[in-house]
Symmetry: D3
Subunit: 278 residues, 6 copies
């Protein structure tokens, strides 16, 4: 389910304009007018590709006559050196769009690559890796897509498309039961309700109200296992809190359904990708 170009274009345009500033790439004036360019965008490290869509749009905004030919699919795992796309056209246009295009590619491939490492780490278990709302400002749709390209799940997109009943809501309502009842009253029939619990006792209380999902916040491995046993399939279980590549496998093996990882979108290092003459 690729994003609509019409949604992505304003984001790419804003990024391009912050690079171009008052309107002219001064150093492009050093290139002969209409000098041609042929080049390849290549991964310089192994990883999972994401961001070809905004990269394509960046080149198109600068110059509709540039030819951008993808040589890999978004979501593909590639080796270091793999070509991701071919660019042909006016050299001055290419150098103007280059940095913006690469900044999207390196960021989003970084997210996809880190996600894929988590997904690999839990292979063979039923656990799915999911993103959170801890995303880079202005880039959530693209990052959630990158997580999916890496094999993860996007989780809710924001404050409006699903309900997560958290500790402060429970405190305000007086109990897990009261909070869940209220959530069910306002949710309508098209929003999923998830409730966050911090103990097995709260989990038990929550399950009585048939939430679709329960978030187990910072549970120990032992408690996660107990939660899985207690729940017995009555709701999806999501583990969350301080998950790392070192700890994720053990968490997955407790039998939880979903493991959410903030680092996928707030701390994924960029994947090194560059453009070379070719």
């Amino acid at each position: 389910m690729p994003l609509l170009d019409a949604v992505i274009e304003p984001i790419v345009r804003a990024a391009l304009l912050e690079d171009v500033g008052r309107g002219a790439d001064v150093s492009a004036a050093l290139l002969p007018q209409n000098a041609p360019f042929k080049g390849l965008i290549r991964a310089r490290k192994a990883g999972t590709v994401a961001g070809l869509q905004p990269a394509r749009i960046a080149f198109r905004i600068v110059d509709q006559d540039l030819q951008f030919t993808p040589l890999a699919d978004d979501g593909a795992r590639v080796e270091s050196g793999a070509p991701l796309a071919r660019i042909e056209g006016r050299a001055a246009s290419v150098v103007t769009a280059e940095r913006t295009a690469l900044n999207f590619l390196t960021l989003l491939s970084g997210c996809a690559t880190l996600t894929a490492r988590y997904v690999t780490a839990v292979a063979g278990t039923k656990a799915r890796i999911a993103a959170t709302r801890k995303t880079l400002p202005g880039l959530r749709a693209l990052q959630k897509e990158a997580v999916q390209l890496g094999g993860g799940w996007p989780h809710r997109f924001g404050l409006d498309d699903a309900i997560l009943v958290k500790d402060n809501h429970i405190a305000a309502a007086g109990s897990v039961s009261a909070a869940l009842a209220q959530a069910q009253a306002v949710a309508g029939h098209m929003r999923v309700i998830e409730v966050e619990v911090d103990s097995l006792a709260q989990l038990e209380e929550a399950l009585d109200h048939k939430p679709q999902i329960v978030l187990l916040d910072n549970f120990s491995l032992t408690d996660l296992q107990a939660a899985v046993t207690l729940t017995a399939g009555r709701a999806l279980l999501e583990a969350s809190g301080g998950v790392t590549l070192e700890t994720v496998r053990a968490i997955a093996e407790t039998g939880v359904d979903v493991i959410s990882v903030g680092a996928l979108t707030h701390s994924a290092p960029a994947l090194d990708i560059g453009l070379d003459v070719a």
Copy 2:
């Protein structure tokens, strides 16, 4: 030189709207109407603070009556647990703005913190740490500011405010000399010219044309040292390429003036910062 609120506000507003989506924080309906909230934003790891300005703006956009009181300065180094700001006002407003505000704080404090680590690593040398154009799409002004708060230099902001003569310009012009002459012809009197060289021979040719700055691209330590000696103060020297926290000190000790590090803005892990009732 703090950024103008008028420049930052559209970025914060866009981030907030991608979290709020079609207009309502559904779970805020679980909080009693007008319930009050008092809380503290705290660092959960030691680091350098950045992002209080967009955080303040996020709370203000949601609710003009929220009181946001900074308890630390942007640029301050703080310990784990240090309070960064106090928030008071309607609980429903606070939870609506919270994630957006924190996403700015954790990202930008992450940049500032990584920059400060590089700056510390070169302490006692004359080398300055600088950012590059490898920034997160849409967030360049804020990230460049965060680098400055961490003790670094912003470098040029984009394609229009300074000229960096690169390998492809030199190839197109035929020689370093020709490219520099052309750059000086188009630069006007208010733009700095920097030229990228990849050998001591190119450096020598460049120095004849009195560029303000020379970028030494992927030079070995030995060549960096030779470049410093050869240049003898006739231009600023910038080292660039694959710089890490492990290698930066040795590079600085060669006597270069500036060391630019892409990772400051494309791969800085988020600094853990949270909002607690208090």
Copy 3:
């Protein structure tokens, strides 16, 4: 769960600017500079109130010093003549904002009023009245909110926040089963899946895959009843297609859970509301 002002303001601003055009309310020049105004916004027919938020914002955009005091709550049922809000301030400002504010109020109160009539018509059954995506361009969030104020449910907001598997998806996938399996593979854990069926046979096939909701498209009353019996609570059932105030009660009495009505948002007549000196 009121909408965030920051979401609504651009919509109100655009509406105001299409009324003001090139920037001046020429006829406001006929009023003495700074002449004061006191008036009441009143319902001129009985109905359910919606739209006080955009009305308030319209007056505020024109003149921050205007005092807009709501005298009724959004969602309240009022009689003809009931005061909805008091306006005080510069007369020239009031007449400039008046038409824009009233256009929101009459439209949205019209939606809420029609919804309330449907809700009343099914009172005592378990059926909930729901809106569709057949909304007025640019006004969906406000209209969905108005439907909720009238006692209805908003249904999904768009193409991204829930999945509705429709006839063309089923045709493309080859069967209800195949389409539902695919939907479950792409939905992630935070999106509700609804499937549209046009026969009891399709319903039966669908139920095997445990969708949260089944849309019964243009079913006869007999078939609706059969569907309720067949389903026996295994999924929510939504009736849809040509529902009118005349037919809705009988549909509700079949025992379906949700009845969706396009007319709530595409054909609700405006509620007559005006501003009078007072």
Copy 4:
């Protein structure tokens, strides 16, 4: 005089984005990549067509390769079942744009259809049917155009392009004469002046100042006739206030020049129009 695409496009884009939300039509993922689609947009009730321009733009924004071929003209009266346009292209693109395109068509054809009914009702008299400023927020230009396509007149577009001297202006100025004199002083030579009167006495006073148009507000049929006689062609006369399809003919037969009807733009029911595979 069709609207400029550049004026309409932002409105269509905003409508599309409120449907697409965070960027992806999730259910479009259920359709085979690049599956083709051929279909017809058809009227499901008889009426007058309007909205083909925004419909065409909606499809184009989603996918420039979709072929949209109009089969009827905007303004044409069509029977139930009449084809309005043919769509060919990627199925996934068609379903993404479909609802937005139809929402414009059903709304605007609804306005044109209701207008045409009023125009037919006064056929043979000299009266012209005109719209008011009681339009749907953000949709005024399109609705005024739809009224023209239905055979009506748009009336003034907003507060800046003509002057309507109303009761509060007259009250503020002290008399009809004083208000009209002031209006003529500020109007310039390119704005029409209309004055609203609520009695024959006020009409008489107004005519002394040679306004181009006089609005007869809520006059009885007898008074309308008296006004026509009194005026004797010295100004255009516009009847306004609570006009319905039942009363409009009698009003027209009094000899007034213009009859303005708010319902054309605030309460026209949608015309049923759908897209079918073909």
Copy 5:
């Protein structure tokens, strides 16, 4: 009839952002944090004031706490040295907004001043000086307002609010009569129709159709006088084409009603205005 702040603000904001660029006024960092400033905006030449509204808005966007006190009215004729406004507040804010505010003031006061010179030149005749559509891109509303402040008329605002039947329309329609008939058919009752003629014969033909205004394009003084005699008050007459301060009086004395002058908005020199510490 001052412009609505909501209309002007985006124009001022865009101007400010093109001055501020990537967000920081670097040199403002040279001023002590929170240093206070008191100053006066003064005319440095005699002229007619316009632009205080956008100037006020520019200071407010930068810093809501700046106090901007107008000391003259828009439209006032002032001597060299006259104070126009007082500014108090943070010095760093003042210097950031200063250039943008002054650029509006000098431009718009320049327009108003030139207009006033033309108005003075025709004093005692009945001729009114009017602007044209030859305005600076993006600044039309403000410039039309400045012309009014200088004593002129704004003329039509654009292509939609009035009809000017020009030579190419007449050529396309076949005759003045045919073109005017068509114009009257599409104008509706709220748009003024003006027709451009280039000979007395065309004028005679035009007058038969009762246009509200006739534009006499590049008529000699003799022909203007003949046109006035021929028309005998049956329409307003507008003289246009190459009007200068030297020729305008003689044109006015022919008895035409309106003289339009492109130079008011495309070639008015700026009025010198500055900000001084005081």
Copy 6:
């Protein structure tokens, strides 16, 4: 270094929309549907061409099928009557875009033409003519480009891309030395520093700190000459203040490097340019 279309297009679009207003060029309805047009844009006075880029974009926004063929280069000096571009396509589209396109051309060619006159006036000296920040709101990038096309230098673009240390900064810092030291501390390595002085004594103090440029504000010719002698090439010298076409040659002959002229962008009269059938 032409501007990027993506930067210019929003400015052209805004200008077009302020002309088109609510969306329709009413008088275009007087032209036969699809009537063809062939015409030439011609200079009606001799001058230097600028603005062909925004003119081309204006025609393209209105109608992608219009053919706009430049017949002169931006920056070319042309005689009265010289053709600048050929337009072919739908007549209705041409007349809708015409005024907007011409308004850019006449404005920007006016700037370029005035600049070229100053450049010619100093021919044979080493002085360069430069623009200032006294530009028309919203049009700075285009005007700075026009100045370059006329042979001038753009100077700094705004408050962020270079530092100009002015009298108030010096007053705040206590001395030229203190202000310059502070500027050097905040500038980073990619911003030029210029310092404004108003006496030879200040110049001498400034030179000790090696600024790249010194602005000599309102110096007499004698003092300018003394400044050149004193400086002896240690910094670029810029003369500024009340420069006119009459005085600029003498200033240039003092030996200064740069002469900045506000009038280039705030008071350049439009160059007369029109579109004729051909």
